[in-house]
């Protein structure tokens, strides 16, 4: 219930202003920077460490998938980046150079459970407008909500209630809510996990298109190896208990990718194999 908690989490790791969080080797700027991140949860048997010594950088415009067996803490890692879970002592998390203190500006979380995270008493367009209310003018809210709904192809369902839409459409509403916020960091927690195969592929292409047009940085948690290889620039594999990043796989398949052509490439199949091995080897 304490919505206003989650105060300074990573102040111990505050960087001096003269040392910006960049890789320094001429690559894109680092949007999200994690060093030595750990997370502990209180359980009945005392404190249990879920994540340990996570080092990770997300670069501008990159789409990175986070994979691993069930219960390894993928979602927890994503929630740390969104300021919803406080990392343990000694963790350094910065988003665009700012140490994390609560949900960072420009970061938007797309929850797996779309039905529970859309407001059933609001129409689609008012759901999309939710995060903008009280921050920008009415007119701008309308424009940005309309633009976001246009971007996910739901402009004509603006006045409908979300529960009248199919699961895939509801998940697109959630994506639109993020786009309306002008998110530069999209944190997606198994966003297509609950959808049927056909809807899933069409939403993957939808995400790919939005990513190409608006170039947000995306951290994407998924169980689906094909999906991870198809969408990502990079795949991080979490394993162990407490979990740490055990493997990193760069996906250099050409873009734009195509559901049939890309998935038939020998490189795609090799990568798929490689990711599978990385996850399964976690014993």
């Amino acid at each position: 219930m304490t919505v206003d908690s989650g105060m300074p989490a990573a102040t111990a790791g505050r960087r001096p202003a003269s040392e910006p969080a960049e890789t320094g080797d001429g690559r894109d700027a680092v949007v999200c920077h994690c060093r030595n991140v750990s997370v502990d949860f209180d359980s009945s048997e005392g404190r249990r460490r879920v994540l340990e010594a996570i080092d990770m950088d997300l670069h501008e415009g990159e789409l990175v998938s986070i994979m691993g067996r069930s219960g390894t803490g993928k979602t927890t890692l994503l929630r740390v980046l969104c300021g919803l879970v406080e990392p343990g002592p000694g963790s350094v998390v910065t988003v665009r150079g700012q140490p994390l203190a609560g949900p960072p500006e420009g970061a938007v979380f797309v929850f797996q459970n779309y039905a529970a995270s859309l407001l059933p008493w609001r129409t689609v367009e008012r759901n999309v407008a939710l995060g903008l209310e009280g921050k920008v003018s009415q007119e701008e809210i309308r424009e940005r909500a309309a633009g976001a709904l246009e971007a996910v192809g739901l402009a004509e369902r603006a006045k409908d209630y979300p529960w009248r839409l199919s699961g895939g459409m509801q998940q697109r509403v959630q994506l639109a809510r993020g786009l309306a916020m002008d998110a530069c960091l999209l944190l997606m927690d198994e966003p297509f996990g609950a959808l049927d195969a056909m809807t899933k592929t069409s939403l993957q292409d939808e995400l790919q298109r939005v990513h190409r047009e608006r170039e947000p940085t995306v951290a994407f948690v998924t169980h689906d190896i094909d999906e991870a290889v198809y969408l990502s620039d990079r795949i991080l594999v979490l394993s162990g208990s407490p979990a740490t990043i055990s493997d990193e796989i760069t996906v250099d398949l050409p873009r734009p990718r195509d559901q049939l052509a890309t998935k038939e490439l020998p490189e795609f199949l090799q990568l798929r194999r490689r990711v599978y091995d990385a996850i399964v080897s976690d014993r």
Binding site: M1, V3, P103, L119, L130, Y161
Partner: protein, 244 residues
């Protein structure tokens, strides 16, 4: 319903059941008509209606305000939870003699009871609604960096609304019950008192006429509230029953 009434009429007319004071439905209808015509029905009806609604409104406002506060404030909840659990277990009817002793045969006694029962019912349902808001919704509020005020206004209160409305409807029925009981035992006015006087005057037709008037009043109050809440919150009326 019509079959039941017809059956009742037949039983009484045919002499199958013979109680001294069980009138036939036709007799009750006649009594109701004559009461209405003589103007003896309207004043007690209006009195009961007025005290039920006034008491319910006061009780509901207090219940919603206090319920939102107790639901939101962890500390207030911790300190008051035990007393609420004990107090809510006391049947409000058992407080009728207490109120009678404290306030005497007065309108104050009647209204106090109605406000009390209304406030409790709304309070308990409001706390429940506010406290059982799904954590996913609160995560959405944090993630979108909404202010505390906006989280309460745009997420918590609308999510708690169905539960509050259930409380309001329960409270309205209970307010009518307490009004009638209070009038029967305490405050000498309204339909409850008229019912008792008909009983003591050995006028079963009139007595049943008052009973059915009270029933009709209850049904109309409930219907009016249901209509008002669907008009005021169309999304709620159209909404899915299984979400939140």
């Amino acid at each position: 319903m019509a079959v039941l009434v017809g059956f009742w009429e037949l039983l009484v007319r045919g002499g199958v059941v013979e109680f001294d004071f069980l009138p036939a439905p036709s007799g009750i209808a006649a009594a109701l008509a004559s009461l209405a015509a003589s103007g003896d029905l309207l004043p007690p009806l209006l009195h009961t209606l007025r005290s039920t609604i006034v008491g319910w409104v006061i009780g509901a406002c207090a219940g919603v305000a206090l319920g939102v506060w107790l639901g939101l404030s962890q500390r207030a909840w911790r300190y008051s939870m035990a007393s609420i659990e004990v107090m809510r277990a006391i049947p409000p009817i058992s407080l009728v003699p207490v109120a009678l002793l404290v306030f005497g045969f007065s309108l104050r006694m009647e209204l106090t009871l109605i406000v009390y029962v209304g406030a409790w019912t709304v309070l308990v349902n409001t706390i429940d609604g506010v406290r059982s808001v799904r954590p996913e919704l609160l995560d959405v509020g944090r993630m979108l960096r909404m202010s505390r005020l906006r989280v309460v206004r745009s997420l918590i209160l609308p999510a708690a609304l169905p539960s509050v409305i259930v409380g309001l409807r329960l409270a309205l029925s209970l307010s009518l019950v307490l009004a009638v009981v209070a009038q029967m035992i305490g405050n000498p006015a309204g339909l409850g008192n008229a019912l008792i006087r008909a009983q003591q005057a050995l006028q079963p037709e009139q007595m049943f006429a008052y009973v059915f008037t009270i029933g009709a009043l209850g049904v109309s109050l409930n219907g009016a509230l249901r209509y008002a809440s669907t008009r005021a919150f169309p999304a709620l009326a159209a909404g899915p029953t299984d979400v939140t």
